[in-house]
């Protein structure tokens, strides 16, 4: 990938403290731990992982919606530059015009007491982006048309709409202030396959027509495979593998990514499915394992994995893997494409 990064993340950590100081013990949840990545302008960047892996927290940290504990997040677009660590309240307001979030559940994300027009217009009014009501209405109508909403529906309330239509309203609201960067957090997880295909096509068309950049968070690997240009796999707050989509799915390096891919139920009933069984479940982030975080469930774990944490290093063109034995595992599996 040769394009310029829109978002640059370096050693980002987000820690939450839980439990009372009253009991004299304080637990720290390392939701995101020393993550570094670049999101190239105009691309769809996928982020996958099991629940509890820190995907959502990472997405929110990029919007400065959760406090950043350590590390840097920078945004740069055609001379406009923001450093999320050193940002005034005024800068943050400007930043929010450029970066927006699309939520998972279109039933919870829309206020039942506002009309569709008011819902879509709200960001414009709050950020004072328009000068008159006419101008606001015009922009609302323009974006509603782009999101294939019926203009006659603007006067109705959200309860009158199906899940797919609501998600389009939610997308229209995120896009109305002409942002450059969108975080789509599981935005198709609650939808049926047919509607899911419709929404994915819509988002892809915005990427192509308006040059938008997306961070696409999902637990569904087949959806990510179809939409994203580059994919990062997250486990217990850390990135374990980052690569172009084709590479990630067909020359997989990390044992966790392999296990995830092999667990996808394939449509072919006779597919020789070598499911790599993952024992147990994702450990608690309050008490993560020593060394490589994945060693408790990894079939290839050795002493070194328990003792030393692997760094995310380059293995092949633009392909990053955090595994001590990535080279050996590659050899054992030949093409390694278990999907």
């Amino acid at each position: 990938m040769t394009g310029k990064p829109l978002i640059t993340v370096r050693d980002l950590s987000v820690h939450f403290s839980i439990g009372g100081a009253l009991l004299g013990q304080k637990n720290i949840v390392r939701a995101v731990n020393k993550v570094s990545l670049d999101i190239t302008a105009g691309t769809f960047f996928g982020l996958v992982g099991e629940s509890g892996s820190g995907k959502t927290t990472l997405g929110r940290a990029l919007l400065k919606a959760v406090p950043i504990s350590e590390g840097h997040v920078e945004y740069s677009d055609n001379g406009v530059h923001y450093d999320l660590n050193a940002m005034s309240a005024r800068d943050l307001k400007e930043y929010r015009k450029r970066c927006q979030l699309i939520f998972q559940d279109p039933y919870a994300a829309l206020s039942p007491r506002m009309t569709v027009r008011d819902i879509i217009a709200e960001p414009l009014e709050v950020m004072k982006l328009t000068n008159s009501r006419e101008e606001t209405d015009e922009r609302v109508r323009a974006i509603a048309t782009k999101c294939r909403l019926n203009l006659e529906h603007l006067r109705r309330y959200p309860h009158a709409f199906s899940g797919g239509q609501r998600q389009r309203i939610s997308i229209a609201r995120a896009l109305v202030c002409n942002p450059r960067f969108l975080v789509a957090d599981e935005c198709v997880a609650a939808l049926d396959v047919s509607i899911q295909a419709d929404i994915l096509n819509l988002l892809k068309s915005f990427q192509e027509e308006m040059g938008l950049t997306f961070l696409f968070i999902s637990h569904d690997l087949s959806v990510v495979a179809h939409t994203c240009d580059r994919v990062a796999v997250m486990y217990l707050g850390q990135l374990v593998e980052v690569a172009e989509t084709e590479k990630l799915f067909f020359s997989t390096r990390h044992p966790y990514t392999k296990a995830l891919l092999s667990a996808i139920p394939l449509l072919d009933p006779d597919a020789k499915h070598k499911t790599i069984k993952l024992e147990g479940e994702i450990p608690s982030p309050t008490n993560p394992p020593s060394g490589c975080k994945f060693h408790t469930r990894c079939a290839f774990a050795r002493d070194k994995c328990r003792a030393k944490e692997p760094a995310l290093v380059v293995k092949g063109e633009n392909h990053f893997v955090a595994c001590h034995f990535a080279d050996e595992l590659m050899d054992e599996n030949g093409q390694a494409g278990s999907a």
Partner: protein, 337 residues
């Protein structure tokens, strides 16, 4: 061929609501045999869960069943059969609920009582439905927990639902549902709330249990991939009607109904990353405004003008148990190619 375990004939379910009579299921018929896994797929609102709940009469009080609807359960004890819909009193339904049929739900956290231990809930139903003593019931429950792959079963037995992880809770739910030795297990989206790695574990477990206990499973899901990996036969529902049913290989490799084809084209596939996803055109109609004729004609790409809007397609057999209700594929010659 032996008698089917359960036979659903012409099931029609309507709900009386303030907006009028809503038809949730319209003339659905299917059969399930011992040891068979039948997958029931469809979009939300297609009537999958209502169909399943009808088998145990678990639908709400405003439900009315069609006069021609029959659900016939084979009764192995008397050699006769039970007409499920004719049972009116809760006491009579013991032969089904906790007897021949058990059900597991999507969200196991909502299905367990939060303030009673897992063990007490398992023991309670065994005391109600079997002649076990309390001690036998406890021992048997722990054995069942071990059987579904829960480690430290006796410790888990004494814990509450919130102390267990999502995958563990679903395993405990399955253990509880199977401990009364049902002949039919209804699984309503049992893996939807789980991560793929845990989903794979639960699917393997359910297949093992069918092999061991020999019960039949009605597996409800919206995920065709899950169906392909678990079910023997599949029934596709759209707006309360079963539009296509057949052996899972047949339906997925050679779908006959335009709706089934549409669902498969909308699904992202890993073997072809560059394929464009094609959504089924239009939106699913409101159940209050069910289309006339074939219910799918408003969105169908293969519509035959003048025919599909007016008439209801009959269910036609394509051979080998593959049935479809569509005018565009009525003659078997066209599809054998």
């Amino acid at each position: 061929m032996s008698r089917p375990l359960i036979s659903v004939q012409n099931l029609t379910v309507r709900f009386r609501t303030d907006e009028g009579l809503v038809t949730a299921v319209d003339g659905a018929s299917f059969e399930l045999r011992d040891g068979e896994i039948l997958g029931l797929v469809g979009e939300s609102g297609s009537g999958k869960s209502v169909t399943a709940k009808s088998l145990m009469q678990l639908n709400a009080g405003n439900t009315s069943y069609g006069p021609e609807s029959r659900i016939i359960l084979r009764d192995d004890e008397t050699g006769g059969e039970i007409d499920v819909l004719s049972l009116k009193k809760a006491r009579d339904m013991k032969v089904i609920r906790g007897g021949s049929i058990s059900m597991i739900f999507q969200e196991p956290m909502a299905s367990f009582a939060p303030a009673i231990t897992i063990g007490d809930q398992m023991v309670e139903q065994l005391l109600l439905h079997t002649s076990m003593t309390k001690r036998q019931a406890s021992e048997f429950s722990i054995e069942m927990l071990q059987r579904v792959g829960i480690s430290d079963a006796s410790q888990r037995f004494a814990q509450y639902a919130f102390e267990l992880s999502g995958g563990m809770r679903q395993r405990a739910m399955i253990a509880m549902a199977l401990s009364t030795r049902p002949k039919l297990l209804i699984a309503d989206e049992p893996t939807t709330a789980l991560d793929v790695t845990i989903q794979a574990q639960v699917i393997d477990l359910m297949k093992d249990l069918v092999a061991e206990f020999g019960m039949a499973i009605l597996f409800i899901t919206h995920d065709l991939g899950v169906i392909a990996q678990t079910a023997d036969r599949v029934a596709v529902m759209y707006l309360g009607e079963i539009v296509e049913t057949g052996p899972v290989r047949q339906v997925i490799r050679a779908p006959a109904h335009p709706y089934t084809k549409g669902l498969l084209h909308a699904l992202p596939r890993l073997d072809d990353l560059d394929a464009t996803l094609t959504p089924v055109a239009g939106d699913i109609p409101s159940p209050l405004e069910r289309p006339s004729g074939c219910v799918f004609h408003t969105r169908c790409p293969e519509i035959i003008a003048g025919r599909c809007e007016a008439n209801l397609p009959e269910i036609a057999s394509l051979g080998a148990g593959h049935d479809v209700a569509c005018f565009a594929v009525s003659s078997p010659e066209e599809t054998t190619a």
